[in-house]
Structures are given as C-alpha cells and as structure tokens.
C-alpha cells in the first residue's frame, strides 16, 4: 500500500533563499511524524507548502496519490488535510463554539438561499454541525468554554481550540505547527495524551515541535531539517544517536 502522504523533491525559494531544498519523505496512514530542526530550518514553510499557502517551485506533494500542488488551502482542507498555525490564528472575537464550527464549514452544504430562508435541511445540518463541534470541544477539553470568546482563552487553551477546529473538518491528516508552544508542563502532558487520542481515532498526525521530550515521546518517525535540507530521517532512537543531528543542534546552541 502506498503511504498516505508522499513528498518528492519539494523545493521552495524566497528570492535568493532556498527555504526548502529538495526534500522527500513520506508518512504512513495512522502514524505520528515529527518534523524537527533549528529555527529557520524551513519546517513551517514545509507545512505551508503542504497546506497550499505557498506553491512549491519544484517537486510534488501526493496525498492519497492525488497531487496537492496548485490547490488552494480550502480545497486541501476539503481533501482531508487540516492544520493549526504556529502563531495561533483563531477568530478571537467569535465564541469558542463558533471557532469549532468554522472548521465544520467545509463539510456542510447549505447555500445562500437555504440559509436565508432556513430550510428544514439547513436547520438539521446546522444542528448536527453544532453537535459535532461540541463533541470536538469535549474531546479537546474545552467543553466548559463554549460561549466564551476565543480571545479570552489562555494560550494553552487557544492551541487546543485550534486543534478542535481542525478536527471538526474530519481530517485524514492533521498538521500541528508547534502545538506545545507557550504551554507549561502539565498542559504539555495533556497535549501528549490528546495527540495520541487523535491518532487512535485513525487520524494521521504530523507535527513541528521544539519540545524534544514531547517529540521523542509521541512520534514514530522524525524528519530533521537544517537550512531547508533534510539531514536525517528515522525513529526517535535513531535520530537521538545521529551525529549530524547532534552537530546541527549543538552547533546552534
């Protein structure tokens, strides 16, 4: 069976800078893959290529043997690739529930007229979406904040809400950009359990993370980037002992 996601020779340039340079790897269905590397290694750029925010200058990205290159971000979400943002991009003035509902949007059908006239089908769909959004908020531990505005949440909870929003879109693959950023130790432990629970639902996980403890704990496979180049790939144990990786990290710190 082919892997769920396959990147082949993906390259992205910004002017003279090659942010992602000829990177290839794949992720199997149901796995948790970590992407690590020093700051500026091209990790987030790689995610932006995957989710259609940037177009690659070369190479191909195949998801279930369908190329994602040239598709718009919302089309890629509809295909089953959801993401969270490193900088946390919630709709801060909307409620927590509505943020989760926004993720559900792409699985709903009601159009302009159905919405304006409130057809029976539209109302059924709306209620089902609310139910589903609430479930995802329960799943991520945010059920107590349904009607609070997203902007009033703590940073840790905002990260969780981004995950809930992504989950509401029925993803096959979820891409988490530094999910543990600005989380304290207990929050990170909750996150670890959450990521595993997501995987246990059959959703493939890819994550960028600086918290090595978390990465080593949850990932089956790690991809190491430095200056846009993939310098290593393997299990956490292999990566831990890889001299190039050690050099890249020690060289930086």
């Amino acid at each position: 069976m082919n892997p769920l996601l396959r990147l082949t020779n993906v390259t992205k340039r910004f002017g003279g800078l090659i942010a992602v340079n000829d990177v290839s790897f794949s992720a199997d269905e149901g796995s948790i893959t970590g992407i690590i590397g020093p700051n500026g290694a091209g990790k987030t750029t790689l995610f932006n290529l995957l989710t259609g925010n940037y177009a690659p200058d070369g190479g191909d990205i195949l998801f279930r043997d369908v190329s994602l290159v040239g598709r718009k971000p919302h089309e890629i979400v509809a295909l089953g690739v959801a993401r969270t943002f490193q900088s946390i991009r919630l709709f801060t003035s909307l409620s927590v529930l509505e943020n989760a509902l926004a993720g559900r949007h792409c699985r709903m059908r009601a159009g302009l007229l159905a919405s304006m006239f409130g057809t029976a089908a539209q109302r059924r769909e709306e209620q089902a979406a609310v139910d589903r959004a609430v479930r995802e908020l329960e799943f991520t531990g945010l059920a107590g904040f349904l009607n609070d505005t997203a902007g009033s949440l703590s940073y840790g909870n905002r990260r969780l809400l981004e995950i809930a929003r992504a989950l509401a879109s029925d993803p096959i693959l979820i891409a988490l950009d530094e999910p543990a950023g600005s989380m304290n130790q207990p929050e990170t432990e909750v996150l670890v359990r959450l990521i595993r629970a997501v995987r246990d639902r059959g959703i493939t996980v890819m994550l960028i993370e600086h918290d090595m403890g978390l990465v080593m704990q949850v990932c089956q496979k790690l991809i190491v980037l430095e200056y846009g180049i993939k310098i290593a790939e393997g299990s956490p144990a292999e990566i831990r002992d890889n001299p190039r990786v050690i050099e890249a990290y020690l060289g930086q710190d």
Binding site: T44, N48, N53, S87, R89
Partner: protein, 301 residues
C-alpha cells in the same frame, strides 16, 4: 509637437500638485494605516488662506507684488500644518487603538466639517486669485510657449519633494519616521517617541497640502470650497497607484496620474477625463496588487 510639449508641461504641473497632496496621504498611511479623508480639505483651506493672507497683506493700499507669494506660502504651510496636527489630536488619536473602520468614518466626519467650515467662512461661490499672484508670462522652451507659472509649480513641487526625500532618508528624525512606519511597537522600544513622529507626519503632510492649495489657485485662478474632494480623490488614487505608504511612490504616482490625465483628455476623450485615472488605477492594481513601488509583504503564518 508643440501641443504635446505643452501638454507634458501641463501634466507635470498637475502631477506635481497631485504628488504634494498624495505625500500627505501616503505619509499618514505609512505610519497609521489610516486614510486621512480630511487631507483634501486641508488642501482647500490652504488655497483659501493663501488668498486671504495675500489680500490682507495688501489691504493697506495696492496689492503687494508677486514677491509676497513666498512669505504667504510659508505662513499658509505653517497654518495648515498646525491644523493637520490639531486634526490628528482630536479626530484620530482617540481612535488609535480602535478598529480601522471607525477611524475612516471619523476622517469622513472631519472632512465634512472642514468643507462646510470653509463654505461658512468664505462662502459657497468660487473665489478668484488676484492677477498679481498669477503672472501671465510665457516663456519659450524648444520654440514652444509655456506659461511660466506652470514651470514654477513643477520646480517648486520638485524642490519640496526632494527636500522631504532628503529629510526622510538622511536625518535621524527621518529615520525615526521610517522606523515608525515599519513597526510602531519596535520603534517605541528603540526609544522613538511614536506620538511625536505621528504629529510630525501630520504637520508635514498638511503643510505640503497647503502649499499645493496655493499652487492650484495660482495656476488655475479659481478655487472653491469643494475642490478638496476631487483633488483629494485624485491624489489618494496617485498614492495608491505608486504604492501607498511609499514616499517615492506617491511622487511617482502623482506625476504619472497628472500626465495620464492630461494626455488622455487631450488626445483621447475629454468627457471621460475624470474616469481615466480610475481606469488606470484598476488596471495597475489588477496587475500589481500593491501599486507600482509598493512592496509585496509575504504574510507570516
């Protein structure tokens, strides 16, 4: 050929005026991300103040000579600058933290206020600049007669723009202005008094607008209370055309717009004169969404 040359001179003169007004829009936008809709009316006020001061200086007897234009212009620039500074304090500073929309509407309110204030003070009819201020001398360049006043306007507007450019790029304060335009927060952390910079930007922009107002009076003779609207709109278009927030962009956009409009109405169609600039604007923005010199900023995700 003669006609073309004359039209080029006309275009550059109008363009110079557009550029000066556009600078006010673009500098304020650069620092505050605000469209100062009242800027066009400061320009109108400049035109009226110029007339009033000039006539007042000569009210004792005969009108003063053309030489009096210079002190009048300096005074007008000073007064409109102060008005610009006051405008910022009253209408915009309280809204600094609020959304963009509320500042836009406050600016529209200020524009309505100024326009009607001018109408109440100077009347709803147009006013005429005295002949003394508008030398009818014609000079011959390349065997073509060109009104001297147009050349003066081109010269003065270029001089003002170069001075501003030098100030922004080669002085400490100018660097602070550029820094505040890039990132107010960071500029404040570097010890720049952002409030002072914003006030300064309003002073300079309004002063240049006032100067442009006098130029219109001297060039076309007639001024009226609502002229800030059409000039303001054109100048703002020029600023966007060049890439709003970008100082050389406003200069380039203004000159380009003046030329396009003058040549377009001379050679294509006079009936569509006021629409030409908008067609060009839309065309350029479709091709380059941030204007000619505007930078594309890649968004950080």
């Amino acid at each position: 050929m003669d006609l073309l040359f004359q039209q080029l001179v006309n275009g550059l003169a109008v363009g110079g005026i557009y550029s000066l007004v556009a600078l006010g829009y673009t500098m304020v936008y650069g620092v505050l991300k605000l469209i100062n809709f009242a800027h066009g009316d400061l320009f109108t006020i400049g035109a009226y103040l110029g007339l009033t001061l000039f006539v007042a200086m000569g009210s004792a007897g005969t009108l003063p000579g053309f030489a009096a234009v210079l002190p009048v212009a300096v005074m007008v620039m000073g007064l409109t600058a102060l008005l610009g500074g006051a405008l910022e304090r009253v209408a915009y500073r309280p809204l600094r933290k609020a959304g963009r929309l509320s500042a836009v509407v406050s600016a529209l309110g200020a524009s309505i206020f100024f326009q009607n204030a001018v109408m109440l003070v100077w009347g709803a009819n147009y006013e005429v600049y005295p002949e003394v201020m508008r030398p009818s001398t014609v000079v011959f360049l390349f065997d073509t007669g060109v009104p001297l006043i147009r050349l003066i306007i081109i010269g003065v507007s270029l001089l003002l723009m170069l001075t501003l450019y030098g100030f922004i790029h080669h002085t400490r304060t100018g660097t602070a202005v550029r820094a505040a335009a890039i990132d107010q927060g960071a500029a404040a952390l570097m010890g720049i008094n952002v409030n002072r910079i914003i006030t300064l930007v309003f002073l300079i922009g309004a002063g240049l607008g006032g100067a442009a107002g006098i130029m219109v009076g001297m060039s076309y003779g007639q001024i009226d209370f609502s002229m800030g609207f059409s000039y303001g709109l054109k100048a703002f278009t020029a600023a966007v055309l060049g890439g709003i927030g970008n100082i050389p962009g406003a200069m380039l956009g203004g000159m380009l717009l003046g030329l396009i409009e003058t040549l377009g109405s001379a050679y294509l169609t006079i009936a569509w004169k006021d629409a030409i600039s908008f067609f060009v604007l839309i065309l350029i923005l479709v091709i380059r969404p941030t204007g000619i010199l505007g930078e594309r900023t890649a968004e950080k995700l």
